[in-house]
């Protein structure tokens, strides 16, 4: 064996490489491979080792992984759309048309739209698989609850994104959805029991202070609604869903790994 090191060897033992990837060199043992995963901020949520049976497509359908993958696609394509889309009544619809017809690769908007549909489907199928394989049972019941929250957040992301094209379908869909919010028990002005939250003649749940108002930012759908939904869709809900996703993935590992009998 000569003293001359190959380029790859020099690279993997050099300061640049070892400062980024702790452990030094190409991992040779199980322990070293484990340390690579544990020391990476991106990999550490993932289990260090996967049993062979756990990645069987027949068992997992890969629906959880696909949901996350689609979420990443939606995040990237969504950020790209934000460079052209302005959330005002004057521009929203025309910007959406511009994005489809004039901006290069107008398919970006379709990727975002179809991706959103696909994510709802994969999340449902993931939930169905987890239920059918009994993977919600203890000690994984907490992660099931986190998953239900993730499902609701996915649907809320779809709901808020629905309004942004500001076309007839969007406006009427949100008209229907927000009127349902107005019928919330106790907290909706049109809902049952809203009169119970009153002191004397002063009614606290009115058209300007109920759940529907909080959702659409006014008494009618308008500029305020579009801005509110835009902020929720682009910042608020993604921020919340990412926190829950981190917990969800971490708990998979902590609760006995993916699809392993416990």
């Amino acid at each position: 064996m000569s003293d001359k090191k190959s380029f790859l060897e020099k690279l993997s033992t050099g300061q640049v490489w070892t400062s980024i990837f702790r452990g030094g060199g190409v991992p040779q043992s199980r322990r070293q491979r484990m340390m690579v995963v544990l020391n990476s901020v991106f990999l550490h949520l993932h289990p260090v080792r996967l049993p062979k049976h756990a990645v069987k497509l027949k068992f997992t359908w890969c629906m959880g992984g696909l949901s996350f993958f689609i979420f990443l696609i939606l995040t990237i394509s969504g950020i790209l759309l934000m460079f052209y889309y302005r959330p005002t009544i004057e521009y929203a619809y025309t910007d959406m048309i511009d994005l489809t017809e004039q901006v290069p690769f107008g398919i970006m908007r379709e990727i975002h739209r179809w991706g959103a549909h696909a994510m709802v489907i994969t999340v449902w199928l993931h939930m169905f698989r987890v239920f059918m394989t009994g993977s919600y049972k203890p000690p994984r019941e907490f992660n099931w609850a986190i998953g239900v929250i993730l499902l609701v957040l996915t649907l809320l992301l779809s709901f808020t994104g629905y309004l942004l094209p500001w076309d007839q379908l969007a406006i009427w869909a949100i008209a229907v959805g927000s009127n349902m919010a107005g019928a919330t028990p106790l907290l909706g002005a049109e809902g049952p029991g809203s009169a119970l939250l009153a002191i004397g003649d002063i009614n606290f749940i009115t058209k300007v202070s109920d759940a529907r108002f909080a959702l659409i930012g006014g008494r009618f759908l308008g500029e305020a609604t579009l801005l509110r939904f835009y902020v929720l869709h682009c910042i608020g809900l993604p921020f919340i869903i990412m926190i829950f996703m981190a917990v969800h993935f971490w708990r998979i590992r902590k609760d006995g790994g993916i699809s392993t009998p416990v």
């Binding site: 008209a175 229907v176 349902m180 930012g217 009618f220 305020a224």
Partner: protein, 190 residues
């Protein structure tokens, strides 16, 4: 590596005497274990109150005091502008109001379907308002008779101004099922 060893020794054994340890000061102003705990509970209470206050602020933040929405009151011309027995569509686009005149007077109907909020269409031949969303139908009076709509269309406050023009105020609505259509301001006698 002799240098490194010397350095470490130097930090462990400093030449100056160590500062007094916590809790060993002998004057009366020092923090005792007991007062520390009462201070820390006051601190926690303040923290919880501040956090609660901030969440209240956050909630209130979403209910603005000024709304930048279209005006809800408008002048709708003179009573003679409206033909007896017909549904007038001129304010439908702009204000979401149908003005209907019958033999006794004029009333202003809301164009919002009472099922889920869509806008029905007036069909003159069938003499009914028909909602395109789920098929609810309303008579010219606003009474529902087909489809999923659970109650009649709402009517708005309608009065005469000093100059004889009709004023329609959408802030005030009248619901038939609550017996409010008999209110004098729900119907303009002409």
């Amino acid at each position: 590596m002799p240098e490194a060893t010397e350095k470490r020794t130097a930090t462990i054994a400093p030449s100056s005497p160590p500062p007094a340890a916590l809790g060993q000061a002998d004057d009366g102003s020092s923090v005792t274990r007991r007062s520390f705990f009462s201070w820390i509970s006051i601190g926690w209470l303040a923290f919880v109150a501040a956090t609660g206050g901030f969440f209240t602020m956050m909630l209130r933040f979403f209910f603005p005091n000024v709304l930048f929405e279209p005006v809800q009151t408008f002048r709708a011309g003179y009573p003679d502008d409206y033909i007896v027995g017909e549904v007038d569509l001129r304010w439908k686009e702009k204000y979401g109001v149908w003005v209907v005149r019958n033999d006794d007077g004029i009333y202003a109907l809301s164009t919002v379907c009472t099922h889920l909020g869509c806008t029905p269409n007036w069909q003159p031949s069938a003499k009914k308002f028909k909602c395109p969303c789920h098929g609810s139908g309303f008579r010219i009076t606003g009474i529902h008779f087909e489809g999923p709509a659970p109650r009649p269309l709402e009517r708005f406050k309608i009065t005469l101004a000093d100059d004889g023009q009709i004023i329609i105020d959408k802030n005030q609505k009248y619901q038939q099922e609550k017996g409010q259509w008999t209110d004098p301001e729900a119907f303009l006698k002409v």
